[in-house]
Subunit: 479 residues, 2 copies
């Protein structure tokens, strides 16, 4: 069931108004990670709730309690629930988005004021904090609602909304809320939901729309080697005591090889090698070694084979060394023997890996390697936090609908991708509601979501709004 | 020629007055490393010059110019030169000391006010910043001068003094001053100097006086691995690019073994193994594994063999890893791939090693090890600073005089020690004046020179003053 031509024309004809609404949203600096902006996050939540109400959506602002940030007790921004449509003959789609943003100061290196949306008519870019992460996609849904209300068109599905204001700061309280709401079954706000759609990630490149069906999990470790009771002078103690940094450098060197191979026995082995058929998926993606090198800003791709690089990011685990706590980290020269040093590293996980399965392998291995050093220092290993990986069935009707919608709007098939990072709420929805979850990105790979000069291309905002609406029609056609 | 009994009695009889003078000196917070205290350093220099003048010493305050500290241009505290005696039949001894101190705040963990000398009559400790480093030893020389002036005794040697006020902050300007003064030959303040005596280090333990005849040198390196143009997210880039931390951890792990062996080929090999005879010197020192473990605050001695531990500190080179600049160093968890990371390490040198000889070995080795990694990241190696080691002939009459003086005052032979750290001015005197330099410590190994609750034992102050005076008589006897 293609989207009606009147809907598509409406989006084109009202583009200027939509951009104006995006400018209004960007102008509210809803930075969840800065206590001084907490009232702005509340203001943004109220603005969004008002917009939904105007467009006929029944809403509820859910208090998530209080939390402590920067030593200050603060009220948490509410979750905004919404519902429109209750036709038992229609599918019910749950939409997730977040109305908070990353911090931004012009002095960080922005070319323009971050909280004033700048429309660059030459490049076609809409520049401003939150333009692509995640105000643009949220407003894409508002555009769809407005078109249907104005044109008097019936929505092809029932819609439920879950918008949060703490995504950039750990989504505090959300997991519990989703779980408890889901537990209410039919009577809850998520009752009868058939599938979930999240628009909060990006195309792999700047050219090709994609659907994302996997995210890596994470297991973050802290390995501490302690020796002397206090920092020592390397002149007075060098070569007369066991130095914690010597032991730690050796342990950290045993974790991962320069080619990315994880050296902790059993971790890489847990993941099946890609079959020729699966490899072909990566070979077919619209992607080039140059893309990763442009993103990284240097010719440091781990391989010259495109599928190897893509699978390294998407379907294999990775181990990164982040740094050392407790050692000398300043500029200049200091001749210290640090008393206690903690190496930080994390493993990005893919199915069937989980933090629980990986942790004992890491601990056992580090203990065994430390024993080989014959050091009199002490070893301690902690798992700081973690999350499971997520992979959805991309043959599900939810994905099929999104594929047809992409083909209708962009005249090409979407790339099927997995992401190297995590969006924890994805797994929460999948596990709490036991339905298929789709990641349907609006923006491009170079949008700079957490960086300076964040932008959303005008064409991605407008065609993306058409895509979201068309996707609903394709889901509806499946009912 | 033993010191006259009247001199020794005078020191005993005037102990309370000497302690009162030390209290006056400690009360001036002459912290050279804190711009807010610069005037106090000047005040301390003027106080010292006044004391010398009262005791009959001709002095000169030498302007060392200005420098920049903490972004502020400041005048450097002067060097105080002094001379007393010009008898061509006598030996001429040059005395060095410093009148500035390390920072100290009660809130650092002091039990008492750091700049108020506390006399603990139970423990016999004189507690206060600068008590042992280096105001106590400087005042020891004043005590000797006072005794001779009051008793109408002729000094057994001609004395020259060189006191500085920037020792705790890099001795700015001093090397150049010493070199230019030495170049004046007979007409300079150091003209005719036969030997140098520095009292600015410590006994190896709390029991046995020592003479120190060696100091290690230093070569400090920074090895930088750079990859991406900016820090990357480990989710998006893990296992798709070469990570600088992976390469750096591997390089740092190749530098030194947990047992202290330096793995850079040619560095350990440059130093001859100790002969049985030399080993016997270390076996004979009044020292126990427990001493190093008490100082370090943990049972982490590199060996259970006493001579191995002592030689590790004194007569072999050591390599210590100090930390990493550019990596994540905070508490908590951050999933960053740092763009550029710099490992800091230094090698303590012993003869015949010099920074110039060691540097090419380190650079060549690190380049070769990096090449083995097949990484596309970039490597850079810098030698941040360095200094040559120093070893004096401990059979020289200067040392023989100090041995006899120690035996006379303490009724036991001094230990002959080398120190693991550096006192750069030692080498400057040795090379500029081409005379024997003696390190003759007054305080004990547990004085806590740069730490909280710095102290000098009353007995070390009083017997130490006798030692300094007796040493001058023993040098004089050699004329």
């Amino acid at each position: 069931m293609p989207a009606p031509a009147t809907f598509l024309s409406y989006i084109d004809d009202h583009a200027e108004g939509f951009i104006q609404r995006l400018a209004e949203a960007v102008a509210i600096p809803s930075i969840s990670g800065n206590a001084a902006h907490r009232q702005d996050v509340f203001r943004m939540g109220a603005w969004l709730q008002g917009q939904l109400n105007i467009l006929g959506v029944q809403t509820k602002s859910v208090d998530l309690g209080r939390h402590v940030m920067d030593g200050q007790e603060l009220p948490l921004p509410p979750a905004i629930f919404g519902r429109i449509g209750d036709d038992p003959k229609k599918k019910t789609v749950l939409i997730y988005g977040h109305y908070d943003v990353q911090p931004a100061e012009k002095s960080d290196g922005w070319d323009t004021e971050p909280f004033k949306l700048v429309v660059d008519s030459t490049s076609g870019r809409l520049i401003g904090r939150g333009s692509t992460d995640d105000k643009g996609p949220i407003l894409g849904w508002l555009n769809v609602l407005e078109a249907h209300k104005s044109l008097g068109l019936e929505l092809p599905v029932n819609l439920r909304f879950c918008f949060e204001g703490m995504e950039e700061s750990g989504s505090e309280g959300l997991d519990e809320l989703i779980a408890s709401e889901a537990a209410k079954g039919k009577d809850g706000w998520f009752g009868g939901v058939d599938c979930v759609c999240i628009s909060d990630n990006y195309w792999l490149n700047t050219r090709t729309p994609c659907l994302t069906y996997g995210l890596r999990g994470l297991a973050y470790f802290k390995v501490t080697v302690s020796g002397p009771a206090r920092d020592l002078h390397s002149g007075a103690f060098g070569r007369s005591v066991h130095e914690p940094m010597t032991d730690l450098a050796l342990l950290m060197s045993k974790l991962v090889a320069p080619d990315g191979t994880i050296l902790v026995p059993g971790v890489d082995e847990m993941v099946a090698t890609a079959s020729a058929e699966e490899r072909a998926i990566y070979e077919a993606l619209d992607y080039d070694i140059k893309d990763v090198e442009e993103s990284a800003g240097a010719p440091i791709a781990i391989s010259s084979d495109k599928a190897t690089v893509l699978m390294g990011r998407m379907r294999y685990p990775s181990l990164s060394l982040h740094g050392i706590e407790g050692a000398f980290y300043g500029a200049g020269a200091k001749t210290v023997i640090p008393a206690s040093v903690s190496g930080k590293f994390s493993i990005r996980l893919v199915p069937p890996q989980t933090p629980d399965k990986v942790e004992p392998l890491v601990i056992e291995y580090l203990k065994a390697e430390f024993a080989k050093l014959n050091s009199k220092n002490k070893l301690k290993i902690e798992n700081l936090h973690g999350g499971k990986p997520w992979v959805a069935d991309h043959r599900h009707w939810n994905y099929e609908a999104a594929k047809r919608a992409t083909e209708a709007v962009y005249k090409r098939s979407p790339d099927l991708t997995r992401e190297g990072g995590s969006i924890p709420v994805t797994l929460t929805f999948a596990e709490s509601l036991n339905v298929n979850v789709l990641l349907l990105p609006m923006g491009r790979g170079d949008d700079g979501a957490h960086s300076t000069n964040e932008k959303l291309d005008r064409s991605n905002f407008i065609e993306g709004s058409k895509l979201l609406g068309t996707y609903l029609y394709e889901v509806g056609a499946d009912a």
